[in-house]
Amino acid sequence: MSGTAVVPHASAEELKMPSRGIVGMACLIAAEAAIFIIFVVAYVFYLGKSISGPTPREVLDLPILSTICLLSSSITVHFAVSALHHSKRSMCSLWLALTVLLATIFLACTAQEWWRLIYHDGLTLQTNLFGTTFYSLVGLHASHVVAGLLMLSLALFFSLRGQMTAKHTERLEVLSLYWHFVDAVWIVVFLVVYVFGR
């Protein structure tokens, strides 16, 4: 061994470090997941504990269309990333546009559902424990969809202006990670709220 422990030289064993963007996003997802878990726990804990109606069974319908839209947007954003990776920039724009469209449909469906619940069924945040936990859980998820939608739109904007190139693949990949997470949360919300909790 030589005495050159900290003297710079090209190390024989170059460490392969992961991208910090992806690690950072993974951390954010861990933190966000913990927040969602708490809201899901609150929802499950208060299932059937409301003192007055309406109950989930009376007012909730299965949101099939919006679920299909949101889940398929995960696939389209994946295609957008791989298109960008292969420098197919117009394909990337197309897939991004499709993702934005699907996310918008999802939000429109949610808005329609809330409209019906509030004005037709008279369920608000203040009505009972079901209203409290339902709107906060679904609303928390929807706010994440809105955030994702804004960022995807921004990506689409840059992509249409031709400012996004293959070297930005990693950034788009970080965004797609977030989007996959939002979709995964929806699967949990869908199962807990609309399937098992109804």
């Binding site: 422990a5 900290v6 003297v7 064993e13 470090m17 504990k49």
Partner: protein, 563 residues
Amino acid sequence: MAAQTPAPAIIDKTAPRAPRRLVFEVMHDWITTVDHKKIGLMYIGYSLLFLLIGGFEALLIRIQLAIPNNSFVSPQAFNRLFTMHGTTMVFFVGMPILFGFGNYLVPLMIGARDMAFPRLNAFSFWISAFGGVLLYFSYLGGDGLYGAGSAPDVGWFAYAPLTARVFSPGHSTDYWTLALLLSGIGSIGTALNIVATTICMRCPGMKLNRMPLLVWLYLVTSGMVFVAVSPLTAAQIMLMLDRYAGSHFFDTQAGGSAVLWMHFFWIFGHPEVYILVLPAFAFANEIIPVFSRKAIFGYPAMVAATVGIGFISLSVWAHHMFTVGMGAYANTFFTFATMIISVPTGIKIFNWLATLWGGKIHFTVAMMFSVGFLFQFLIAGLTGIMLSASPFDWQLSSSYFVVAHFHYVLVGAILFMIFAAFYYWYPKMTGRMLSEKIGKWHFWIFLIGFHLTFDFMHIPGILGMPRRIYTYEADRGWEVLNMIVSSGAVLQTIASLLFVFNLIWSYFKGAVAGPDPWDAWTLEWSTVSPPPPYNFAVTPTVESRRPLWDLKHPDDPDSNYEM
């Protein structure tokens, strides 16, 4: 030895200090900085300020309790004092000071030039700082429409339904909620940064199993922040919805559950204790070996114990709730989880002991504080075992025994290690040594004050004194003990002021430190003191856990022994 050692300045050719600049320029520099060292120092300075404020609140609390039936402060003022004291010490002293040292040290120790996301780092600091300011603004702005209460008075764990609008009108609780929400966002941001830095920015040769233990412990702590602080953030969102939007999460009148808040709070609250204590362990892992002149004993065991603590700490929260009526089975489970976490904690103490064994122990002030830490943490752990036996806890919970126990952890262990860290790294941060002479006075006065206060505080708990009472009857046999406890608080105040004086005096008059005053072994000591903005002129390469040991002992490098 000195002849063989290439002066670290060879590694780092840095220009001498920049010429004097205008105050305005300097301020602009600090406010807009994204340098991890400056942000770290701002974190530290900010938490020192809050340490003084929180300590002052503690002093007022102890003056009120020194004699029975005292009317030094009103009950309302007392309730605000203990709420603000607890909230301040945990969220605006403990968290930021540890993140401050982490911010400063982690990139330097892994040979990086900055954190992974410097701008996020600045954002995290400023949002946490804003949270602290907001909390104290409540003293001015917390009156609200009802004129009821100024600063929050719901206790630092703010049990529902005391926080509901009915029981806490006005805005004081809202300030509490918002301040914690903001500080939580800042903590998550910094933790994210530390994890990404540690995983992605290590210098060549710095494999995971060559990272200094401090970096390992900060990695685990940061990982815990995601799963522990986020539940608190979620609970704060719920509480805000309750208070502003009329929802019923914790509204017991509408069927909501007070116990749910307790669960959510302690799912945060207990891992939080480990989030605070792991960095203290991290300091001990660096300081004890250097002043024993020996490598840390059982590096892999230390890492494994840390990761073990991280996981087990997520399953012990309800030991704060043994008196809530969870039922025998839940009590049994949480008793077991809590007792078993003492095993990895014990492993750490034994490894420190083994590190001391056979060494040449230099009793610098940093080492004296570390030794104090070892004894006090041992006692804190043992009283923790007493509290983990849930029937014993049915008696001791919410009594002064508990207050004494967790102050033994927070002051006796964590604050002692923070003091040690100051004496150890201050030369690196400022280029000047802290005065060892003032430091010894600081240590001994603080030690005596600490033991007067917190040793004797256990006994009123055994004699039936609950926590958070603003006064007590004269005939309960608590008065002498409380007087002793309060007198210790005065000594601790004096010692803390001495410490602040030392920090200021030494900055101007302290001995010049040079790059490596302690003859230490980790990378931060290879740069000049204070390090230049880019840390390392050339990125270092390491081949063992103690790169500077290898440099100083080329004939016998560490890499020969490490597994």
